[in-house]
């Protein structure tokens, strides 16, 4: 299934972007045209489409939430 992932736009070219996600992964061909995201913007990506822009504060909160759940899931597995 697709998960919504938040990340940072690190480069753009003709409406497509490389996005580095908070989970450490990256996608090279994200369509950022709907939200008109520029390099440095924080986006919320679904599949390969950026559906929302996040403010830096919101992005920080999301990153924190992701880290906390990742830790909890990791601890539960250990």
């Amino acid at each position: 299934m697709c998960v919504t992932r938040a990340g940072k736009v690190v480069s753009t070219s003709q409406g497509r972007a490389r996005v580095e996600f908070f989970d450490g992964r990256a996608l090279d061909d994200v369509d950022v045209s709907v939200v008109n995201a520029k390099k440095g913007a924080f986006v919320e990506v679904f599949g390969n489409l950026a559906l929302g822009l996040l403010s830096p504060a919101e992005a920080k909160r999301r990153k924190q939430a992701w880290t906390e759940v990742a830790k909890a899931v990791g601890a539960a597995r250990d």
């Binding site: 299934m1 697709c2 998960v3 919504t4 992932r5 938040a6 908070f22 989970d23 992964r25 996608l27 369509d31 045209s33 709907v34 939200v35 919320e44 679904f46 599949g47 390969n48 489409l49 559906l51 929302g52 822009l53 996040l54 919101e58 909160r61 999301r62 939430a65 992701w66 759940v69 990742a70 909890a72 899931v73």
Partner: protein
Amino acid sequence: MKADGVLFHAKHAFMPNSLGYCGPDERGQIQRDLEGNRSDEELVQILQKFEAAYPFLKLIARSAGKEVFDYSVPEAYWIGNRLLDSVPVSDFYSFSHHEIKGRDPNKVREVFKRLDGVAPPHHTFYVMSTYATTAAPDGPNVTNEAKRKIAEVVDNCRISWGVVSNVGKDELQVLARRVNVDNGGLFLTRPAVKRVRYNSEVRPFRTVREGDVVSIHWGYACDVLTPRQAKNIARYTSVDISLVNRLMKFEASRR
């Protein structure tokens, strides 16, 4: 471990994984296992690394008192069946906060609040509710091109279904209903012809024929559905859409 449940789950998780949208980078191994109809421990370990799908299976399984890969569990999650009704909303709420990575806790709270305790842990509901609560521009100024792209990603990401009308070597022609976005809500279009890829090496596609109903994920035919499953996916999708449209109405009224 239930072999049929593992394979059913892998068939539906395969395409988004191969596109890099979720799960570990194990496309080749999953494909080989599907083609060989193998559901060994290695495949199970790969499927356990999917960051959303596997936790959902665990949620449904523990509520229903089943094994995670009992066939009925992934069937509930991807297609829909009565096991979804056995998941207490309070458990789903807690799960959404503590076991799914990356979701905005405020949005999770909002979804459950607005739906008055009706929220199925169904893949399509997850997809559509995520869309509904994401800050996508959907006002009168949104271009038709943006609407088309949004509808396309929602349609690809949910599990859809289609009736096979022609069988090609690598492609099936199906009659399927797409999800569209308009007037502040989601709806299913009338059935239209669509082409989807399939792998004839994966059972039971060697014998797929006209009239079969197939499940579809990201333009890829995952499995041939039984009449009961075909009825269920239509029913649960309809419930998901009506719930999500309630959410969208609320989101629109806030803007």
